[in-house]
């Protein structure tokens, strides 16, 4: 995953991208996935961790994390 350390998410899940001036909202799970990505974890690792602590299968979590990454790209938040 790419570097988006310049992006700050506040406690309410509000994200401001200073380079584009755009704002976003993230739910709790998205915040958790985003910090995992910031730590440099890959999709497989994040999906494993999610399925370990939450009521979700590895397959579903994998798909969701992958899609979340796609959305970040679509929104210009990661390369």
């Amino acid at each position: 995953m790419s570097n988006f350390s310049h992006l700050a998410v506040n406690d309410n899940g509000f994200l401001f991208d200073p380079t584009s001036g755009q704002s976003f909202t993230l739910n709790t799970m998205a915040q958790e996935v985003m910090s995992a990505m910031k730590e440099g974890k890959d999709v497989d690792q994040i999906a494993r961790e999610l399925s370990h602590s939450y009521e979700v299968s590895y397959e579903s979590a994998y798909e969701d994390v992958l899609e979340f990454g796609t959305k970040l790209k679509l929104y210009g938040l990661s390369l």
């Binding site: 993230l26 799970m29 985003m34 009521e55 994390v65």
Partner: protein
């Protein structure tokens, strides 16, 4: 260790500062529908499968009674004709006939349907721009109310009159400017240009037909009741004029259909609950000039959409989803524009069977056809839905189960929820044999993979 409840990760772009300033939750309110007339969606799907069209007998009868009362209480010399093309399922037509509506048909096929249901010719209004010689002959011999569209039809009917050796009672269709756009000038004889009076003169000169009615249909989904007031006044004025001038006796004036239903016409900004007039408002405008008329002829209406649209639902199921490259989520449901022909013009209510939580995201609803145009809703904010979730579309009772097409997929079942909650079938799901029953395969083209 007990696992925590999972919610999908969602990131949402804020399109303006509205959310931030006013703290509006992105968890939008979702319309929910667990049942139709107290019969559970789950039970309906269990019995009939998905997708399935569902009609509420209660809603049909209540709507009809309310509309009938609105007109009869103001003007007792009133009659409804059920517009077959709006929905010509036998079960649906029968309910309207039981309630007292006569039949309004626009083709030989619809004429046959009404007759097969047991409606007498004299209780059939026969409209439309093309009626074959055979069907004109049949309709005339059965004393149907034939509404003439053009001069060629006058000629045809005079031939029929000679053949049957009888004077045929007829009505002419008239079009006029009622202040609404677009003006339906394609059908009937134009009033303002003098075409209508010329048609009257032509009929009188021919001596084979007897003009005893006047008809107009100003358009569909008319949101301005005043247009009907104009139409009623102009028709009554024309009646008075030709009765005085030619000594005719006009028995009835038929003002067609066109009342709006509580559907959301694309391009209309206000929600239907605000934009759509009540039946009483239409009735006020229409009956006022009739009440003020000396002769007070019978008033006929051929209302379609208004009487049936809201009684119809389509239950569908999500069969897949994907993220599109513009960030919207596409849900694929098991029913598309092949069944929902009117999706081109109307945005339906979309109701979910289950409570669904979570942040909403821009979504679109696609049907199952392998066609780019198969879009039921191109832009709606929805929480993340799951495969297998049910979506109920409404109102879909008008024009869909007549204009739908057998395209790519079999057409689904149509069910009726009866007055006492009965679940009854109005139409079977199509089978290969149904679809192919009109096809013929020349012997020499027969193919076998075995040979």
């Amino acid at each position: 260790m007990k696992k925590k409840k999972y919610e999908r990760p969602v990131i949402q772009k804020i399109e303006n500062n509205y959310y931030v300033k006013h703290g509006v939750s992105a968890r939008g309110y979702q319309k929910k529908r667990e049942s139709i007339d107290n019969v559970k969606i789950a039970d309906i799907v269990k019995k009939f499968g998905s997708p399935v069209f569902v009609f509420s007998e209660k809603a049909i009868r209540e709507k009809f009674k309310k509309a009938q009362a609105a007109f009869k209480s103001r003007y007792p010399n009133f009659q409804f004709g059920w517009s077959y093309k709006t929905n010509y399922l036998k079960g649906i037509c029968s309910i309207f006939h039981q309630e007292g509506a006569i039949a309004e048909v626009v083709s030989d096929f619809e004429y046959d349907k009404a007759r097969a249901l047991g409606i007498k010719g004299e209780n059939i209004i026969y409209n439309g721009p093309y009626k074959s010689m055979e069907s004109l002959t049949l309709a005339a011999s059965e004393n149907a109310k034939i509404h003439i569209d053009n001069f060629d039809e006058i000629n045809d009917l005079e031939k029929v009159a000679s053949k049957l050796d009888k004077k045929i009672p007829v009505t002419i269709r008239i079009n006029m400017n009622t202040g609404i756009y677009p003006q339906w000038s394609r059908f009937g004889f134009n009033l303002e240009s003098g075409q209508a009076i010329n048609a009257v003169k032509r009929i009188i000169a021919g001596q084979k037909l007897l003009l005893n009615g006047l008809h107009t249909h100003i358009g569909t989904f008319i949101l301005d009741p005043k247009a009907y007031g104009v139409a009623a006044s102009k028709m009554l004025g024309f009646m008075d004029e030709i009765e005085n001038e030619f000594g005719l006796d006009i028995e009835y004036i038929d003002l067609g259909g066109g009342f709006a239903s509580l559907s959301h016409l694309k391009g209309v900004y206000q929600p239907p609950e605000i934009a759509v007039p009540s039946i009483e408002e239409y009735a006020d405008e229409i009956t006022r000039p009739f009440i003020n008329n000396k002769k007070r002829p019978r008033l006929i209406l051929e209302t379609g959409r208004h009487l049936i649209d809201e009684a119809g639902y389509l239950i569908s199921t999500i069969v897949g989803q994907k993220l599109l490259c513009d960030g919207r989520r596409s849900y694929i449901v098991d029913a598309g524009v092949n069944f929902l022909y009117t999706a081109t013009w109307y945005t339906y209510n979309l109701e979910l069977e289950k409570d669904t939580d979570g942040i909403t995201e821009p979504s679109l609803i696609n049907g199952p056809l392998c066609m780019n145009i198969d879009v039921i809703n191109e832009s709606i904010m929805l929480p993340r839905l799951e495969r297998g979730d049910r979506i109920v579309f409404s109102p879909v009772g008008a024009y869909n189960v007549t204009q739908w097409m057998q395209f790519i997929r079999y057409r689904p079942k149509i069910a009726l929820i009866g007055i006492n909650g009965e679940m009854e079938l109005l139409r079977e799901k199509e089978k290969l044999a149904d679809v192919e029953s009109c096809e013929r395969l020349p012997q020499r083209l027969k193919f076998s993979d075995e040979s």
